[in-house]
């Protein structure tokens, strides 16, 4: 059977600790689904934690590449018809679908990640300040680089990924206005293979390392594995994205992951489900930014411990509004 089923029910049966809340939660992933080692996985982690603690009854389904709008809508409707409530849509691709289906089913509840444009009483918008987290790892890169040259590899050139790029560049330039930041994207819309092509990711990163960079940050989903490999092979460093990739990466490349930009979708999903479990259905925008630790950077591996103070200072400045982080390059 489809993977979502197996893993989800595994999680369910493990849930000794939680009281059986009887909640039926539907999770509609973006392309890639659970196991993409990227942001879908992050959402899945939040769900798993909720399963553990509240013993909810989950169901998952992933989008297919290039699918039609109606397929996304139908996915949500199928959840509704099958009695799932709430339904969490992972990714901005569901923006239009959630808007439409939420209107059709005012009694059901929805959450959408990465979109704040859907306005409805039964929709919660869980959004992130990716640029702020990226700012911090950009600053970290600038502090750590020995060549004053760092890189950014984006998977697919979308406004979302451009936010990562913009924050990263701003952070690097905040530390060193003269720093050179090389930046590239692997593919463009609608070719989303840039999130799944480690070979290209590796080539792009190698180009940056050969071009003088010694740290490369990726926001390229599955292609990021190639970036890590390129760093490992050339004795340089890389920065992970979304989750703490030091934890999940293969041991052979673990050491090159200096830090990761954390986008705590798991936290967002878990917090949302906690609220639901408590009987309230949040709606409207919840912004996960630095001030609530919705984004940040990871410290496992200890490679950024020596600059933690400087980074925390930047963090405070951003929270205080002293530093404005751009969200578009």
């Amino acid at each position: 059977g489809g993977g979502g089923d197996d893993t989800a029910s595994d999680g369910g049966s493990d849930s000794e600790g939680g009281s059986d809340s009887g909640l039926k939660v539907g999770l509609a992933y973006d392309v890639g689904g659970r196991g993409d080692q990227s942001f879908n996985d992050s959402a899945a982690a939040g769900l798993d934690q909720a399963i553990e603690e509240y013993g909810i009854d989950p169901q998952e389904s992933a989008a297919e590449d290039g699918e039609s709008e109606s397929a996304r809508e139908e996915r949500l409707r199928t959840f509704v018809d099958a009695g799932y409530d709430p339904i969490i849509a992972v990714g901005f691709a569901y923006e239009a679908a959630v808007a439409k289906v939420a209107e059709e089913f005012p009694d059901s509840h929805f959450a959408i990640i990465d979109s704040e444009t859907v306005e409805a009483d039964n929709v919660a918008n869980l959004v992130f300040a990716e640029e702020e987290g990226s700012f911090l790892v950009g600053a970290a890169a600038a502090l750590k680089t020995e060549t004053d040259n760092v890189g950014f590899v984006g998977g697919v050139e979308t406004p979302l990924i451009q936010k990562f790029e913009a924050g990263y560049i701003a952070g690097a330039e905040a530390v060193n206005p003269d720093i050179e930041v090389q930046s590239t994207y692997l593919t463009q819309i609608p070719d989303f293979s840039g999130f799944a092509d480690p070979a290209r990711g590796k080539t792009a990163a190698e180009g940056m390392f050969d071009g003088g960079a010694d740290i490369v940050y990726h926001a390229a989903g599955g292609s990021g594995g190639g970036v890590f490999e390129a760093a490992a092979e050339s004795d340089n460093l890389a920065i992970g994205v979304d989750s703490d990739q030091y934890e999940t990466a293969d041991p052979s490349v673990q050491d090159v992951i200096m830090t990761s930009m954390l986008k705590n979708i798991d936290v967002a999903v878990f917090e949302y489900l906690t609220a639901v479990n408590d009987g309230e259905f949040p709606s409207g925008i919840t912004r996960y930014d630095l001030s609530v630790d919705g984004v940040g950077y990871s410290t496992s591996g200890g490679q950024v411990d020596d600059i933690a103070d400087e980074l925390d200072e930047y963090k405070q400045q951003i929270i205080d509004g002293e530093v404005e982080v751009p969200s578009a390059p």
């Binding site: 290039g66 397929a71 139908e74 199928t78 059709e104 979308t158 819309i189 070719d191």
Partner: protein
């Protein structure tokens, strides 16, 4: 007599294929340990009204794509580039419609014409390269697909309007007056989703036009003749180069329509989540429909049906919906195989009729075919 037989066999072939696809898919499911019965009962259940609407809508889009491929196929040109053509055409159509230089439906008409023109020009590049430089249209359209991705991505970023806080970008929305209104499928209580694109009407018209041009006009005759034999076409006075360019452009113009039902009936703008990959589906559908307008329609409906019905598989049965891709592919393959079997049968009949006509005094008397001896049956 033969016509009736032909029609019967024509129906038999796809049926055979469906059965074969059913069996093969079931075997895959069984060997993977998935619940075969549940999968089929989910897929084969009667769709609800809103699903019917989705199926028709999706089929409309696939139909146009299949038609675009078929136009070129009829001339033995293989337009793999419908994907790129519809993408760039839908983008231009969206920009034009979004700018709303003209009021109401004039704007719509202008956008449609622009989209078709852009599709035609983009495909025309491949046509010109083929006609004047002998470049295989297979390669050039593959290359043009990739190029159009970059071009559209670049232009989209230039032209995009981006809502504050949104992670998607898109062209300006088409004003209400220029949208193509939906056709409600059933009583209002089935909800707003049970509507089909108004564009379906245009798709049907496109199909009729295709049929008429191909089978009733001199242009269609020239096109088909060139497709069958370039050399005979040249000898009969057809300008093959011109036909190549025109046919590619025509194919591209139809490809230009592919994205428009979505654009005018649902999305109202071209953006990051616009449906992709329709051109490749069109190839399979044109092949499945044997370049025949009705066949293409049936193929498109079948594909759309399978897509729609498989969508909830993961949620309700726990089986990955990709299983229907196997079904679709197997159908394409088995349909052709069963047509081939039927064709051989008919050819053999034809042969024997001709032979009887050629030698009326044949001592064999009435035909007594001995199929076991037949060359082709052994092959």
């Amino acid at each position: 007599m033969t016509r009736v037989l032909r029609a019967l066999l024509g129906l038999l072939a796809p049926l055979l294929a469906l059965v074969a696809a059913f069996v093969i898919t079931s075997l895959v499911l069984i060997s993977a340990g998935d619940p075969v019965g549940e999968v089929w009962s989910e897929i084969l259940q009667v769709p609800e009204t809103r699903n019917v609407a989705n199926i028709v809508n999706q089929a409309c889009v696939l139909y146009l794509s299949g038609l675009a491929v078929a136009v070129a196929f009829r001339m033995n040109l293989f337009n793999i580039g419908v994907d790129g053509q519809y993408r760039i055409a839908a983008f231009v159509g969206a920009v034009v419609a979004g700018e709303a230089w003209l009021p109401g439906y004039l704007n719509t008409a202008l956008a449609i014409v622009c989209a078709m023109a852009v599709g035609a020009l983009w495909a025309g590049i491949a046509g010109v390269l083929r006609a004047t430089r002998g470049v295989s249209e297979v390669i050039s359209t593959i290359m043009l697909n990739f190029i159009s991705t970059s071009v559209v991505a670049y232009l989209l970023r230039e032209a995009a309007v981006r809502e504050e806080g949104s992670n998607t970008i898109g062209t300006k929305e088409i004003p209400e007056g220029s949208r193509i209104g939906p056709i409600p499928l059933a009583a209002a209580d089935s909800g707003p989703t049970a509507e089909i694109y108004g564009f379906v009407v245009l798709a049907v018209l496109a199909g009729v036009a295709y049929w008429f041009v191909m089978s009733r006009t001199r242009f269609g005759f020239d096109l088909r003749a060139t497709g069958q034999s370039t050399t005979a076409a040249v000898a009969s006075g057809i300008n093959v180069r011109r036909m190549t360019i025109i046919t590619m452009m025509l194919s591209g113009a139809v490809a230009g329509l592919v994205g428009l039902p979505i654009l005018f009936g649902e999305a109202y703008s071209y953006g990051s989540t616009f449906q992709s990959g329709l051109g490749f589906a069109g190839i399979a559908i044109a092949l499945l429909g044997r370049n025949n307008p009705v066949g293409i329609a049936l193929a498109a409906l079948l594909f759309a049906f399978l897509e729609e019905q498989s969508n909830p598989l993961q949620i309700l049965v726990g089986v990955s919906p990709e299983i229907v891709a196997i079904t679709q592919g197997v159908i394409v393959l088995t349909v052709v195989i069963s047509y081939e079997v039927v064709r051989r049968f008919l050819t053999r009949r034809e042969q024997s009729r001709v032979a009887k006509a050629e030698r009326p005094a044949d001592p064999a008397g009435p035909a007594d075919p001995a199929p076991t001896q037949d060359q082709e049956a052994r092959a």
